[in-house]
Symmetry: C2
Subunit: 233 residues, 2 copies
């Protein structure tokens, strides 16, 4: 008999701290918490319904991921954004993602091909349904993330995948930052399609070239349309 008739305290079998970490991460990436904004415990306590120490644990984890800035004895704040940081994240992503694509193309088996094709398929479906503002659609965000994840998933290095994931999150925050000012999304569907085809046909050089262009053009877009937000800090 389910005596938890009142309500489930946490999302899923995890700890509350892990749950809060996840929710805070999403909120920071989506810029629901603005870059540089102070993260006061009273406010967080009310918003997330957890105690001081649990929140502190979550913030510490996010600080290690580069999404939160811990200022000793003076609390936490959302990691600030800057042109320099955007350039660094972009460069690091290119360096690592290019390497992982190469390895995945070399090592990927049938399951990998299936994952790449099916995640792209789902992404295109969602884009057809509502082609207007993809970043505002949580489903699109997840599908987009999963497609790029699938591309590199066969690289064979959990270590590099973890690093890649952190950089992807940091980059996604910048995309959100510019989403409100960008007039209209460019033709991402075509780019994704081309990347998929290059990967599946094991054309590593082409895939690498396309991925690098994809990452850099996204970054340029952010710099163009959110530039005024990057200098102010």
């Amino acid at each position: 008999m389910p005596d938890s008739a009142i309500r489930p305290r946490k999302e899923f079998g995890k700890t509350i701290a892990a749950d809060i970490t996840h929710r805070l991460r999403e909120e920071i990436i989506a810029c629901g918490l603005a870059p540089g904004e102070p993260l006061r415990f009273d406010v967080l306590r009310e918003r997330f319904g957890a105690s001081f120490t649990t929140l502190r644990e979550a913030l510490t984890a996010l600080a290690a991921e580069g999404l939160v800035d811990a200022q000793e004895q003076r609390g936490f704040r959302v990691a600030p954004v800057s042109r320099q940081d955007l350039v660094e994240v972009t460069d690091a992503r290119v360096l690592i993602e290019v390497e992982l694509i190469r390895r995945s193309i070399e090592r990927g088996d049938d399951d990998w091909e299936i994952a790449v094709i099916s995640t792209l398929h789902r992404l295109k479906r969602i884009e057809q349904r509502d082609p207007e503002h993809p970043l505002r659609d949580p489903e699109w965000k997840i599908a987009h993330r999963q497609f790029h994840q699938a591309l590199v998933s066969a690289c064979g290095s959990a270590t590099l995948l973890a690093i890649r994931a952190e950089l992807f999150d940091r980059a996604e925050r910048y995309r959100h930052l510019s989403a409100n000012f960008r007039p209209r999304p460019r033709d991402k569907a075509g780019e994704h399609q081309a990347i998929m085809q290059a990967a599946i046909s094991r054309n590593a050089d082409l895939a690498v070239q396309l991925i690098e262009a994809h990452i850099r053009s996204t970054s340029d877009n952010v710099a163009t349309y959110a530039g005024h937000l990057l200098d102010a800090e």
Copy 2:
């Protein structure tokens, strides 16, 4: 008047949590806490003199760095070691360090050259003094770390430097693991000297080649002399 006549509660103006994080990191790297060993709070509480939540915060931070393994609802343990992990860390280090050396050689100014030369000088001094078991000498460890840090310090990317630092720590733990079984340290002094010269003379290709060989041979050494520790887990 120093009324803290009893004793200073923490290392330095930092928070206790940050201090514990630092001490725990050092201890794990030095294998004072063995790979895979459970990290029970009662034990840690006694050893480090901090409360549950403070320790929890430190462990969470180290989990994000890959030195601690967090098992939901079942506590923490020192991150296990394995051949696979050693290979991953080595590969990731080569990928990143090679890139950072290139950038540093391209961008490094006079101060960078001075830092490289002087950190190597100090390292050699310490090696002369006691050439036997360098890893057991805390001063050698610090000097060694600072030399390698100096080499890449001019790369211009704080993001990549942070990633590099984490990987360096994880690799250093493997070095400690094999230190007890390695008959005698190979000629690291010569290797460091050659790397320094290649860097200062701006011979990027040579420096990259030497660094890669340096990293890989260290890793091979670990696999050879600590192999029996890597399969057991």
